[in-house]
Symmetry: C2
Subunit: 359 residues, 2 copies
């Protein structure tokens, strides 16, 4: 046997060490201590305990100290339900999302979590709400548990929202169709993104750009397609505007490109409405032996991890930022210092990579 590599038990590989506990040590493991217990121990009224708990100013320094000490020795944690019942505030926000995949989901939630924990809110999450009824149910189920909601449910009308949410409770929409003036709506600037990409393709000398559109029911797909048509007409009225209707999947795109090739129609660029379709196109082109970007440039939209891995030119959407902004806006509304609700567009960035680089 040759060198045995790094096998064997490495004594340094202690997975965790439980020594330096930095928590208070004199606690009694009694999680059911109530505010009354604290008051009794501190020889004060519950009102005073409540005051220090809530950081009210009008408390004597000594009182505060006694309360804090009592809380510590009892390991007191206020009961959130009781607090919520008293204040009519839960300090939680509801998040209702559809069945998002991979990075979209994780990045969105990551951004939301950052903003939420910064503002001291908890997140009540509910996912998988493909249709309107289920989204409404999910939202209704949160009533009384949340102070507001972030809703990503393109199928929901403002009217639906009004029904599902407690009256007057704020909500921020993400990628929703409607602007009703009531709810802030955060969306992708598809037009801006498409314009950047079309301009890039034209600048690199492409004359026959084919757009692979996404699912016809999808808001972004529709906007991207329309924006493609408009931009082409505006920037290069002499060129043909070619669109193939796809379904956002790589396999669907493969079929489309195969058909396109079979038809003998000429093209020197494919701009897909999302990265998966662009990758499907790429696969077919490479299999056939068409050089990319030599003969045909390929571009997508989203900048999923696969895109950078396979060096695909695309439009990057900062998804975590999206989630962060949504929560920040909601928190502002909860604090009553939000500007009027509008449709807010987040513009993606052009990421130029090998599949369009003319070099």
């Amino acid at each position: 046997m040759k060198k045995a590599g790094a096998c064997g038990n490495d004594p340094d590989t202690q997975l965790s060490s439980y020594f330096h506990l930095s928590w208070s040590t004199n606690r009694v493991a009694n999680s059911s201590a109530t505010i009354r217990d604290v008051a009794k121990l501190a020889e004060l009224s519950v009102a005073s305990v409540s005051r220090v708990l809530n950081g009210h100013g009008n408390v004597h320094a000594d009182t505060r100290k006694r309360v804090l000490k009592a809380m510590d020795t009892l390991g007191y944690v206020p009961n959130a339900a009781a607090r919520s019942l008293s204040t009519a505030r839960s300090h939680a926000i509801g998040i209702v999302l559809p069945d998002l995949h991979g990075e979209f989901f994780s990045e969105l939630v990551r951004g939301m979590d950052m903003a939420a924990s910064d503002a001291n809110y908890m997140m009540l999450l509910s996912t998988m709400h493909a249709d309107r009824e289920r989204a409404i149910q999910a939202l209704s189920a949160m009533r009384g548990r949340i102070d507001g909601a972030i809703v990503m449910a393109p199928q929901l009308s403002p009217e639906d929202l009004r029904r599902a949410l407690p009256a007057g409770s704020p909500a921020v929409l993400v990628n929703s169709p409607e602007e009703d003036g009531q709810h802030h709506n955060l969306r992708i600037d598809n037009r801006g993104g498409v314009t950047l990409m079309v301009r890039h393709l034209l600048a690199s000398g492409r004359k026959r750009i084919v757009h692979l559109a996404g699912v016809a029911e999808n808001l972004d797909a529709v906007e991207r397609k329309q924006a493609f048509c408009d931009t082409m007409k505006a920037l290069a009225p002499e060129l043909p505007v070619r669109v193939l209707d796809g379904d956002f999947t790589d396999t669907g795109a493969e079929l489309l490109v195969q058909q396109l090739l079979a038809s003998g129609e000429e093209f020197d660029a494919i701009f897909a409405a999302n990265d998966m379709m662009a990758l499907g196109a790429l696969k077919v082109l490479r299999t056939i032996g068409i050089s990319v970007p030599g003969q045909v440039a390929v571009a997508g939209f989203d900048d999923i991890p696969l895109a950078s891995f396979l060096d695909l030119t695309t439009m990057r959407i900062e998804i975590s930022d999206f989630g962060k902004r949504a929560v920040e806006r909601l928190v502002a509304e909860l604090s009553n210092d939000a500007p009027p609700a509008t449709l807010e567009r987040v513009t993606p960035t052009l990421i130029t990579r090998a599949t369009t680089a003319s070099g």
Copy 2:
């Protein structure tokens, strides 16, 4: 201009239709209706309303009907906080996760959500808890809001858990090091997975298998590495056991493989501790012009989406199933009908693809 593709506004592309509202129509938009209001309208006591609300048997059919009608006309939804305060049950579970990426996160949460909504529990989610302190804080912050928790925090000791959780409140661990007999612990069967893969590589005639290990602090990485060594010794004691210490990243793996190639050492298979490293290895081998799987077989672990896209042999972990099982177990504990806590291993499946197929 040639055929214009499918541009233009398609009138069928109505994004949503808001007509067939299936909700009750006679509701008054008064979300602050309380159980007392319902009782008053139904001319009954709040106790009766509460009984039908909770589906208790001892209610006259007519009474039930009157209550339901009143609830409907008032658009009544019970206040969760009040309920929770009374019953000492929140019907929510806390989920504390580290900074997981992409599919891991989304699939895990998806599985949890499925199980949770099936059991009528809400999910209070908190992520990004890299270190012990933050995980403890996140968990503590949930006190009084949850009935139990799912915790994925390898750094947390059973003692930490006991501190952060309310006394006696159940928790299920995911991928945690300890078994304390108190908490159920769900983990990947790394040994089983590695054995399957090593057997597969040996069966396809590989003699010099190099294992790219993962981050040394990672539980799974350690187990996989150890399992690789053990399995090799057990199944093929005459063969060399070669391990290179990597870091779970593709770029890290690229460096390792480049060094390996430069060293002139012979090898005919690379078994990486995760897919990203396998893909990094693949990239280098292909760039150099080494045929895969002809000269060198490559295999990973995890079955991330990239793996199927790039036809990589790997071990598939059903992550959503993982999340689902964790919640189901927790719910069972909450219902007091869970078998004793154990260390439960979920075995991954071998997915044979082009990078090892000898055909």
